[in-house]
Symmetry: C2
Subunit: 215 residues, 2 copies
């Protein structure tokens, strides 16, 4: 069912996905009915089933595309060959920018894993693990190079990801801080959390000036 | 309707609360019916309504008691008059210990705010703000005393709370790490994140030995 986004079918499919994300974020996946979703989009339930034969298939599609989008955004923003501190800064920037623009989809992806079938759950978890592994690699490279000082690569990766994704819970555009300001502060916190340092740095517990310049 | 936990009524009420937390964590609040909950507890729906006249009242009770429990645990574990680094360590320890033991209740409290009426939402948000304010005070005291080096007290508090609460997403007892090991690593990460330092410390970006001893 390959449809271009410009076609009528493509537009309908996109409208279904968008409405589904909003309804699931608002009421939860189990509480949303396909009938309710069809009404929201303004199509017959039968039309809805042509695009998404099952409700769980729809949920899976939303989650898979969320993870694919995140992965693509990261592939696009990473700088090959850069040192670990620069790579970490790119990861933080991309993670915050991606999630801040997709609050509802992020909620759905994080909260509704419980409703996937075992096979599909495994697929989504594999995608998440692969994405988290990128961060663990950066942290490991930095620790091995003596740039980062961390106790446990896995725990540090989870702590950073949850700290960053948590931005969507409280951040609202147009309030006290801009996205750029929030990102800047999270970058500084991240660099301190991983104990980022340069060989020449002698000040205690502060983000080194070399690192600050790249932030 | 004051009931002691030991009475039949008290036991029934506790069983309802426990089953409700499990069902809401599994299916979401909107998808859970009072009929389903009554069946789970093994009582008639009419009996359920004697304890909780409305489903939203039940949700509110669960969330209020979660926040009250958190606040009481913190009041019990804080050490009056201690310096900010020690206070922060106590806050981290209590936050992780409380949430790790209440995974489902934490999910319910964080995810189902959307289903509270405006008045009750305001009450719960006030309780959360008061609890978060405790952390902000510790951070501000530490920054003013020159012990912590942070850019933004509010953002740092949110980052720490989300990083710590995030432990419940991946932590499972009996796997690679014990609760004590996880807590220890999170304490080290927290101290670095807030730029904790002592006047005599000269090493870069590392948790000072004075701070380490108290962890």
């Amino acid at each position: 069912m390959a449809r271009t986004t410009g076609s009528d079918g493509g537009r309908t499919e996109a409208a279904i996905r968008e409405a589904a994300v909003t309804l699931i974020a608002r009421y939860g996946y189990e509480a949303m009915s396909m009938r309710q979703l069809a009404a929201e989009v303004g199509v017959q339930a039968a039309a809805l089933y042509r695009y998404f034969p099952t409700k769980e298939g729809l949920l899976f599609t939303l989650m898979r595309e969320h993870m694919q989008g995140l992965r693509e955004a990261w592939e696009h923003s990473r700088s090959a060959g850069a040192d670990p501190a620069r790579q970490l800064a790119a990861y933080v920037r991309n993670h915050i920018a991606f999630h801040i623009g997709r609050r509802h989809a992020t909620h759905v992806s994080n909260m509704e894993l419980r409703s996937l079938s075992p096979d599909r759950l495994t697929q989504i978890l594999r995608m998440r693990t692969a994405y988290e592994k990128e961060l663990r690699s950066i942290l490991r490279d930095g620790a091995e190079a003596g740039i980062f000082s961390i106790e446990d690569t896995g725990l540090t990766a989870m702590a950073l990801i949850q700290m960053m994704t948590g931005v969507i819970v409280w951040f609202r555009p147009g309030e006290r801080l801009s996205i750029a300001e929030v990102t800047q502060t999270y970058l500084s916190m991240t660099m301190r959390l991983v104990g980022a340092k340069m060989a020449t740095d002698t000040t205690a517990s502060r983000v080194p000036s070399d690192v600050q310049r790249m932030l």
